[in-house]
Subunit: 596 residues, 2 copies
């Protein structure tokens, strides 16, 4: 989707938007940290994020990689920076082809800084001198394929003769095809206001988004304003100087200043605010939250899962429930699909799941968030019994630990209503890795389980998925026929299966009914996908958990035995009105082995 | 679908099935009457119907035509008879091609009677002498495409040496590819039982369905049993002779005898019963009803509308609501579609509706049922005001007349719950031609609105569709914005449109949630289809109603004015839980013009 369309839609529906800029980190660890930040900040629902261009060589390749991964895995609209620095036309073409392949549809076209070592701007051989040339090149080569943003300089560009010439160049950029303008950082709101007026007087009619940088440290602030020769109001200097050695106070002032500036900008007609995050999370998040921009957008989930912004997935509206706690793995494994299930899952042509690609993001992302030591701390230093293992699952349900190999994020708030029951069955050896409570005709605006357009009703069949020993499975299967509204499917690592679902079944477990629409059923339990998922789910025992311990240790042996002997079971209570998925467990003569 | 699969399924699930044989009538009127009977008897849900082969020339063409039309329009599985009489291989091939084109997938392969004029059986040039040759020919040429039934003769074939030879020939027919056997009529149940045993002893293992003929008249009975040399137990002769001139008594005895025989046959292991209806409806219907075979199957509607048995439509599971009272017209207009909406309507590629073909069945069928005089009696001898017209709509809602130009069948029983409201708005000039009440989570087994497999829940959004004057439309549109859960679409014959549904909308108005399945949403309101339907709906004013009156009459002029000036409006109450579609009419200052 083009960012300009999102911006225009926000303007038309009188909603304030915001966006985040990240820079391309220089280290591997920096990249992993960035992914984790971006994922968390995605929950704030920025209209878009942009990633700076690591001019020259290795880092520019990384810019494409990061931009692509964020677009692909985090459901965010990404705008990648692109500069003329050291970029010949041939190189630009090559880059734009790659960018297109990744699914990115938005470019921020900049002239860029002078090449490293050069004092002044120098155009490279076969390259461009002006951002407007780059805009024109992209439009000439790709027509309307890319959305294009450009930079605006409220205080005038460093190298420009005067503000009037500056506006002339800006007008040129817009005239040859830019969709909107993001301003360079400033600290005097009046600069934005007068810049905006000059633009409009010069007949630059596109949206002009103010760019703000929350002050993070005094030294950083001095460096940045010095480098950009930013005008800093005396009041700000007077406030900062006395607290310059108090990092916390500086940060706090940075937040308050940004809040104040944002409010003033919005009051003066800015359509939204752009934040130079410096890859830092807390200040920007606080500003967004205190501006109260976040809750409104969060309550309007389009679907119960985060839709992808990749053009190829624009029609996708059904996913199997199994990957709901590992969505990046699902996206990675379905990247090669030509089209995505739309309307109903069963019509898709026996989709084949690929192997896990993009290991870097999907797997190492997890590893970076939960290093070996952290994971061991969460899941047990030396588990020596099934009870020790179950205890980790219980801790996860209780919210005491934030991650399991099968769950990349802490337990969902909608699960609170069934937390006690989940804890109970985990204590009894049914090790849950996925669940959703029953929902019957709850308004689509509900903050916990709601999604989709207003005026609709949301439904869920209760679902739980767990690992279970063969013995406990036998207890369960011994009485499951008494519970006629349950659909079950149990399978061990070798594929031995017990199921009452028939050869091929697809069970819609989340759906919504909306005014003037067909029924939307975004989550299903599908027998084919379950067989693919079980391989991944079993493998995670070994890759994520057993691998924490020495190969000859008791803990390693214990987990290997679970891997070999346990079943993965998917259980649906089809009666979402009168059913109770936990009733069957109450009938079992399996005691809680752990004390409460 | 192959009939043998239906039979085997019934046997496995221990359900008794039944089937009806019709003969190919000799007159046009006979054909129209047959269609009407078949349509009514379809409601009994026979496992299949079969249509006899009008051996030679014109009538055999008619057999294909009738079989095809019944398969196409009445949602019945049809088995067409085919005989060797006067049929060369070339002719058989030609016929089978045609049969295949019509969508028929089941053939009853017979040798047939001797050619007219011939005393004994004579094989024709390039033809076959035995039914087994015909079975083999069909299998050789078409593989598994056709299901094949053959005839069995419990009392031995007229021309056979002895019963043992007869069984030998029968075994041959089964060995070369017949799926099942239907017996010739008999009146002594023991003949079936011993025939069945002889078959099994000869290793004929397929289903053997007893064929029964309800006695309709004494003379007919005598003729038939004489012609077939059927053995008639003395007891039957003794009962019939004294009442031979009392037609009603004969018929009644025929029903009782058949009931008794059916029960005995079923008690002795017959999987179902086949009825030689002689194209008569009442006796067979009574027998089915009194055997209590009907209610069970009727309550198990697979979908809210009658699914087609045509192979090309096997995946079809969504239809626009507009044609729900004219399903044959819908089938005719969509015959050329390559594939049918499945899962959701919106995924279909802007389907183009064809013109009304098969005029004979779709249109003349209606005409035959409601001749001009009848229609005039129902709809008014000389309507002279809009009130007179509205009065006919009111009579239809009250169940006092059984047909309107837009409604081929009497008002549905599910509509009873909103009958008063419908009558009220018709009296006020909103002339309803389609409607369904709101339904919220009613069990799928519900006798009125239920459909689909057991254990599900059924939902409906309230729907009404009506003709309305421009003035009344203005009243309605004047306050419709106060009713935010309504979706409306009004259009006049020229296409002038008022709608709040957006450019293209598809609104699911009937859906069901079932254990272990995706959501089923068989009925939608679709904006594109509505524009096609409105042409048909407006045209019916002229073709069916105005045409009853002289062109220069007041009545003709009145209806032409409605045709030109009225709007057709579709109205959906999207809140199927708390909404009330009739509330808006209560707000209107439009009085009931007619007395109650």
């Amino acid at each position: 989707m083009k960012i300009i369309d999102k911006i225009n839609h926000a303007i038309q529906s009188k909603k304030t938007f915001f966006s985040f800029e990240y820079f391309t980190p220089k280290t591997k660890e920096g990249v992993l940290n960035l992914y984790n930040r971006v994922e968390r900040m995605a929950a704030l629902e920025p209209a878009f994020v942009d990633v700076t261009w690591g001019a020259g060589g290795k880092t520019s390749k990384l810019s494409v990689e990061i931009s692509g991964a964020v677009q692909k895995y985090y459901g965010l609209e990404v705008m990648m920076h692109l500069t003329c620095t050291n970029m010949s036309k041939a190189k630009l073409s090559e880059t734009l082809e790659k960018v297109k392949d990744t699914g990115i549809t938005n470019i921020l076209a900049l002239r860029g800084d002078p090449p490293i070592g050069a004092k002044n701007w120098e155009k490279c051989d076969g390259g461009f001198s002006y951002a407007s040339d780059l805009v024109k090149f992209i439009r000439d080569e790709y027509g309307d394929y890319f959305g294009i943003g450009v930079a605006g300089y409220p205080e005038g560009h460093l190298e420009s003769q005067d503000k009037a010439t500056d506006i002339k160049y800006l007008k040129e950029k817009v005239d040859v095809g830019a969709d909107f303008i993001i301003t360079q950082l400033f600290f005097d709101v009046n600069e934005y206001i007068s810049f905006f007026q000059r633009c409009r007087e010069a007949d630059i009619q596109c949206p002009i988004i103010p760019g703000l940088m929350p002050i993070q440290t005094y030294s950083g602030f001095k460096r940045m304003t010095g480098f950009c020769q930013t005008k800093v109001p005396q009041e700000i200097i007077d406030t900062l100087e006395p607290i310059q050695s108090d990092d916390a106070a500086i940060k706090e002032y940075g937040v308050q200043l940004c809040l104040e500036m944002s409010q003033k900008l919005l009051d003066n007609g800015a359509p939204g605010v752009h934040f130079y995050t410096l890859n830092l999370e807390k200040s920007t998040t606080r500003i967004i939250e205190e501006l109260r921009l976040v809750s409104a957008s969060q309550s309007r989930r389009a679907l119960p899962w985060r839709p992808s912004t990749l053009p190829s997935r624009s029609q996708e509206d059904v996913r199997p429930i199994f990957w709901s706690n590992r969505p990046k793995s699902y996206i990675a494994r379905t990247m090669d699909w030509d089209d995505f299930p739309n309307g109903r899952w069963g019509d898709s042509h026996s989709p084949a799941f690929g192997d896990l690609k993009d290991y870097y993001v999907v797997h190492h992302g997890l590893e970076a968030r939960a290093k070996k030591e952290n994971r061991q701390e969460m899941w047990g230093e030396n588990p020596s019994s099934v009870d020790d293992i179950a205890a980790a699952f219980v801790r996860f349900c209780e919210g005491k630990i934030v991650r399991l190999p099968w769950c990349e994020t802490p337990i969902q708030k909608e699960t609170l209503s069934i937390m006690e029951e989940l804890i109970d069955i985990n204590r009894r050896g049914f090790l849950t890795i996925n669940s959703q409570p029953q929902v019957n005709a709850v308004p689509s605006s509900d903050p916990k389980v709601g999604w989709g357009m207003p005026g609709g009703y949301i439904y869920q069949k209760a679902y739980i998925e767990f690992f279970v020993s063969e013995e406990n499975l036998r207890h369960l299967l011994g009485c499951i026929d008494q519970f006629s509204s349950l659909t079950y499917h149990a399978v061990n690592v070798e594929g031995k299966t017990y199921s009452n679902g028939g050869d091929r079944y697809v069970n819609a477990v989340t759906w919504g009914v909306f005014p003037g629409r067909e029924i939307s059923q975004p989550t299903v339990v599908d027998s084919h996908s379950f067989m693919t998922w079980k391989d991944e789910a079993f493998q995670l025992w070994l890759d994520e958990w057993a691998s924490l311990y020495q190969e000859d240790s008791l803990s390693h042996k214990l987990i290997s035995e679970i891997y070999e002997g346990y079943y993965l079971m998917s259980l649906v209570e089809n009666d979402y009105i009168n059913g109770n998925i936990f009733e069957i467990f109450e009938k079992l003569a399996i005691p809680q082995k752990m004390s409460s």
